[in-house]
């Protein structure tokens, strides 16, 4: 048997349902923490091994970090996929933005290897884009601020030497990934 509803009750149902299904993007804070700490560790390793000990093999730190991050992210992602019961449009948009970023990043990396140029400033500037979109979609200001830091650090990086770029990159990662990542985790625990 169906209950008769007043227009007010109808609106109330609509509001309740839409609010109850709000995106739970905060479960993705782990990706920012994994990649944030890996990138900072790599930047520090490259600085110490390549520029302090003059060993070019230190550049392999990026590759090692990429492999570790890729494996950790996919294992976590697979685990999450088992638990997820619904996918919001925001979740989908979020995935597409980061997928596009990943593909563009790989293109820049391969291009830079081919031309033997430092992709650092380009990557720093490029990273501002998905971070900003994430911040705007989640209405989470720390990511918006983080994106601004990425743009500023990336732009300055064009005018400094390679070791200093690593420092700027680490600062950008700290403000764009690490701080928002921990704040997102806190919000998740409060929800």
């Amino acid at each position: 048997m169906e209950t008769k509803m007043t227009p007010e009750q109808s609106l109330q149902i609509i509001n309740e349902m839409i609010n109850s299904a709000k995106s739970s993007m905060n479960k993705h804070h782990i990706y920012f923490l994994i990649w944030g700490w890996l990138m900072i560790a790599s930047a520090v390793s490259v600085y110490l091994i390549v520029y302090q000990q003059n060993n070019p093999m230190g550049h392999l730190s990026w590759m090692v970090a990429g492999i570790i991050g890729g494996i950790a992210s996919s294992l976590y992602g697979k685990n999450q996929a088992k638990k997820i019961k619904s996918v919001t449009f925001i979740d989908k948009a979020y995935q597409y933005v980061w997928l596009s970023y990943g593909i563009t990043l790989l293109c820049i990396l391969f291009g830079s290897i081919g031309f033997k140029s430092d992709p650092g400033p380009y990557i720093t500037i490029l990273t501002a884009l998905p971070v900003l979109v994430t911040g705007l979609m989640l209405q989470f200001k720390p990511f918006v601020i983080g994106a601004a830091v990425f743009w500023i650090m990336g732009l300055i990086s064009f005018f400094v030497d390679e070791p200093t770029r690593l420092l700027f990159f680490s600062v950008a990662i700290f403000f764009g990934y690490i701080i928002p990542g921990y704040m997102l985790r806190k919000q998740e625990n409060n929800d």
């Binding site: 169906e2 209950t3 509803m5 227009p7 007010e8 009750q9 109808s10 609106l11 149902i13 609509i14 309740e16 349902m17 839409i18 109850s20 299904a21 709000k22 995106s23 088992k82 019961k85 619904s86 996918v87 919001t88 449009f89 979740d91 989908k92």
Partner: protein, 97 residues
């Protein structure tokens, strides 16, 4: 005299409206999620989902996940349009011109 738009009888039902409202913001949702959020029984939910599906408001996909049956629902363009019309009509009732 104020003229009210007729409300879509398919959406002017507590459970079906809940289902559609839930699916509006979702790319896709599984049966268990909808059941939890709407607080309905499996049997009633199944009946209402089929009514919405027959009207072309949603699509129902039956697959398997970890060897368990998985029913996934998704709103269609027709369902989205019907929802928009319904909300406009409801607003007309609440704030008549």
């Amino acid at each position: 005299m104020i003229e009210f738009e007729e409300l879509d009888p398919l959406l002017h039902s507590q459970l079906r409206l809940s289902i559609i409202s839930l699916l509006v913001s979702q790319s896709e949702s599984d049966f268990v999620f909808i059941k939890e959020k709407t607080g309905s029984t499996a049997g009633n939910l199944s009946v209402q989902l089929n009514k919405l599906s027959d009207a072309g408001y949603i699509t129902i996909r039956k697959t398997f996940k970890n060897n368990y049956p998985l029913t996934t629902c998704k709103i269609t363009q027709k369902g989205l349009k019907a929802f928009e019309v319904y909300v406009t009509a409801i607003k007309g009732y609440i704030n008549p011109k």
